[in-house]
């Protein structure tokens, strides 16, 4: 599978939740050669496009762009790998009782 098959996919819980706006990977340490494991998907209820990282990094300027991006990606959340039940073509199903994680980068 390639990452562009996931980006923009429609995400469903019991109902439609949004679109995959990004995919987060985790390295266990910062050492060289670590595998990048899929940590979760960023789900944006209103926009398929990337949010340029504004809502994930605390960046607040330039404020017109930050405000616009925040508004477009309002309600975004992180769905972790363990909460993904099924991946189809451009459609991702989350498990019942999935958790909405914070979209901010740790």
């Amino acid at each position: 599978m390639i990452i562009t098959e996931l980006l923009g996919a429609r995400v469903y819980g019991p109902d439609f939740l949004g679109f995959v706006s990004d995919v987060r990977f985790r390295f266990d340490t910062e050492s060289i050669g670590q595998p990048a494991r899929l940590h979760g998907i960023m789900v944006s209820p209103h926009a398929r496009s990337s949010s340029l990282g504004f809502e994930r990094s605390g960046v607040r300027s330039p404020w017109p762009i930050a405000a616009l991006v925040h508004w477009r990606h309002r309600g975004s959340f992180l769905a972790r790998w363990g909460d993904i039940e099924r991946i189809d073509v451009k459609r991702i199903q989350l498990r019942q009782g999935f958790e909405r994680g914070s979209p901010e980068l740790p």
């Binding site: 390639i2 990977f25 390295f27 340490t29 910062e30 595998p35 990048a36 899929l38 039940e85």
Partner: protein, 142 residues
């Protein structure tokens, strides 16, 4: 992920934000490609994923002719996408640095083919111009 940063805390990267469209440099700092896509290890598509399934990992960076497909939609055939294995990555930052030279990459087979089969058959095409040779010798000797 870098040679300098060697602490044990986990690090997170977002594909769109930190990897896609980044310039890739080889071990000598020469631009090699741009990241157009990422290849993941196998995900059971179209069937239920058991809760304890280990997460997929990135296996390769993919580069290819994506300009037209970005404008008009769709995606280039898999055979046209060229792979840079994930294990060849040395550092991820503003650019992505590799631990190998560009000659070891499949990315440049077209360039090598044109060099060997077209440029090399033009008279004088198998060596650098004399002026440049002299310049490089001067630089090497100083």
């Amino acid at each position: 992920m870098s040679a300098a940063g060697d602490n044990q805390s986990p690090r997170y990267l977002d594909a769109h934000l930190h990897l896609l469209d980044r310039q890739v440099l080889d071990v000598h700092g020469v631009p090699v490609a741009v990241v157009d896509d990422l290849e993941l290890s196998e995900i059971p598509a179209g069937e239920e994923i058991p809760p304890d399934t280990p997460p997929p990992v990135i296996t390769a960076l993919l580069s290819g002719p994506t300009l037209a497909t970005r404008i008009f939609g769709g995606r280039p055939p898999e055979s046209r996408m060229l792979r840079t294995p994930w294990v060849a990555i040395r550092e991820i930052g503003v650019v992505i640095k590799l631990s190998v030279g560009r000659d070891t990459q499949d990315l440049f087979w077209t360039e090598r083919w044109v060099r060997d089969h077209v440029i090399g058959r033009i008279p004088g095409g198998r060596h650098a111009p004399k002026g440049e040779q002299a310049d490089s010798n001067d630089r090497g000797g100083s």
